[in-house]
């Protein structure tokens, strides 16, 4: 009894803390400086894209436009010249969509199923197969470029949309399969056994048990594939052919076309437009992305 009274006499609740401690001040200062450092180029791009050429030539690079206009954005999208054609970067945008969507879907579909097979249905040389796959993800692209030119020519699809889609799909497979295999291997083995005892088939286990549990890893791989393929320049310029050039290639052509003075405002607008897709994806799915990466580490 005496004990309880002494305990209740003590202050309760969390220990009060001052709002600003010096450690916290240091952390915030560093974070703010870093954020400004990385945001500065974006800021300059945005204000430059809203200026007219004369304003850019005459003014200070850090000062926003006195008369902001979206004319440069309109021109970048609709009528900027990429070499011979002057149809703007929208052509590249739609080309990029046509390349990215099928490559992402096909590579993730194939990778998730092979990852599932490797993790749960071991076959005779599955370990060796997995090792080869791993090695595949370490081979530099550059050594494959010319052989693939020959292969696609032999298949009769060189310089077409299918060629670039095929290349993106295949190059995405090793790392995607690795990602899925490790994720599925981290799921409790007993779940797989329970589904087998319940009589579920290979596909039923995959679609009805595993896929619903794998939203985080699908999110991660969609992000990796979409941003990777969207940002690609090399495969697009080599295999797609001029009519199918993706947005990145078109952007380069706009920025590097040397007719008259440089239209910095159009260049900036086109660049932001190109970067907008991966940026949007990061913003929307950032939460899931982090969750997916952490998913293997700590079991939910």
């Amino acid at each position: 009894m005496a004990n309880t009274s002494t305990i209740s006499a003590e202050p309760s609740g969390a220990k009060p803390k001052p709002f600003i401690t010096w450690e916290r001040a240091v952390v915030y200062t560093v974070l703010i400086v870093c954020a400004l450092f990385f945001l500065l180029p974006l800021y300059i791009m945005i204000i430059t894209s809203l200026k007219s050429i004369s304003e850019i030539q005459g003014g200070n690079i850090f000062v926003p436009s006195s008369n902001p206009s979206l004319a440069a954005w309109e021109k970048a999208w609709n009528s900027a010249c990429t070499g011979l054609y002057c149809e703007g970067i929208k052509v590249g945008f739609w080309n990029s969509i046509k390349i990215t969507v099928p490559s992402t879907i096909v590579s993730i579909a194939v990778a998730s199923i092979s990852g599932y097979s490797l993790a749960n249905w071991p076959f005779k040389f599955s370990e060796g197969f997995f090792t080869i796959l791993l090695l595949g993800s370490f081979i530099p692209y550059v050594v494959m470029l010319y052989p693939i030119v020959i292969i696609t020519r032999y298949l009769g699809i060189f310089s077409t949309l299918p060629a670039v889609v095929l290349v993106h799909t295949i190059f995405g497979l090793p790392i995607q399969t690795l990602l899925f295999r490790n994720y599925f291997a981290s799921l409790p083995q007993e779940l797989f056994k329970a589904a087998r005892v319940d009589g579920a088939s290979y596909w039923q286990i995959f679609f009805r048990v595993f896929v619903p549990m794998s939203v985080p890893i699908f999110t991660v791989s969609v992000i990796l594939q979409v941003t990777g393929i969207w940002n690609d320049f090399l495969f697009g310029v080599i295999y797609a052919g001029p009519t199918n050039y993706p947005m990145t290639v078109q952007l380069n052509n706009i920025v590097n076309s040397a007719q008259g003075g440089k239209a910095y405002n159009v260049d900036m607008a086109a660049t932001i437009l190109t970067g907008l897709v991966p940026l949007t994806i990061y913003f929307i799915s950032g939460k899931y992305f982090v969750r997916g990466i952490a998913a293997g580490a700590v079991k939910g």
């Binding site: 409790p188 007993e190 779940l191 056994k193 329970a194 589904a195 087998r196 005892v197 319940d198 009589g199 579920a200 088939s201 039923q204 009805r208 048990v209 619903p212 549990m213 939910g300």
Partner: protein
Amino acid sequence: MSYSVSVKNLTLKFGAAEVLKNLNLDVEEGEFIVLLGPSGCGKSTLLNCLAGLLELSEGQIHIKGKNVTWAEPSERGIGMVFQSYALYPQMTVRGNLSFGLKIAGLPKADIEARVQRASEILQIGPYLDRKPGALSGGQRQRVAIGRALVRDVDVFLFDEPLSNLDAKLRSELRVELKRLHNRLQNTMIYVTHDQIEALTLADRIAIMRGGIIQQLAPPQEVYNRPVNLFVAGFIGSPAMNFLKGAVVDGGKAFQVGNTKVSLEGYDGGTNIERPKAILGLRPEHLLIQPEAEAGMTIPAQVELDEPMGADSLVWLVAEGHQLSVRVPVENRPKPGATVHLKVEIHKASVFDAESEQRI
């Protein structure tokens, strides 16, 4: 006579390692068999073989008289309950219970009736529309049992189903499992490393070591007449006392140190002398008394005692061996005292020190 489950000459190899060695096991209809053994003895592996989740290297498995050696898990008439529950996290309890039935293509009304029956038996009705994440460990394990129950199978397989639960819940569910078995009268095969579960639940216990069944017998038999030293040491808590000595006098007495204990009344054949033998005595088969009796007692020094509520475990040193004796708390001797231990020889076990087999 047709057995419910019959394992014939089963051998399983992982690479070069033989995990199960030429194993035979016949389980009667409605029997509760517990596979008991230390980690790595092959008990879970055997269960996975029965379920059809591992392919055998050699041998056959028959369930209900049908050879199911190469049958798919779902075609064997078994239901399985796992240690980690293994419930499908994205489905509700109802979804978990009906998943296998839907796959089997049962009519909706039939599925509903079976789920209803299982939820009544296991008292999980109130949580049918919850997801496993919103259930406690005990509730989850009930659902896992329910998933086996709805499949209306001949044989239940349990893979350490209570090991993830806390002690109180474990003993509650243990009783429930026994009740369930009494009610359903199904064949149940149950893997555990917990000897209390084995002793309380089993009709027969199969004690395994190194991929071999050491003894297959009812719990009392395993406890009272262990076939070898391993079984004797593994079963029983506190563990059996072992006294190293020799069988002398033409098999009529056991010599330990300077003391001779008569083997008259011993439950086994000891009419041969053995220079090296081991006398196994359970802590409750020794009586502490103040005075010596020739051929019946061993002198001992009390070291310390551990009161455990109703009775007390007294640790003594006798002829160079450390022994424990279970005595009622009020009769416990003082540490340091010299006492005499009366041996209840008809409950003892004598082992050959070389072969480690019971004599």
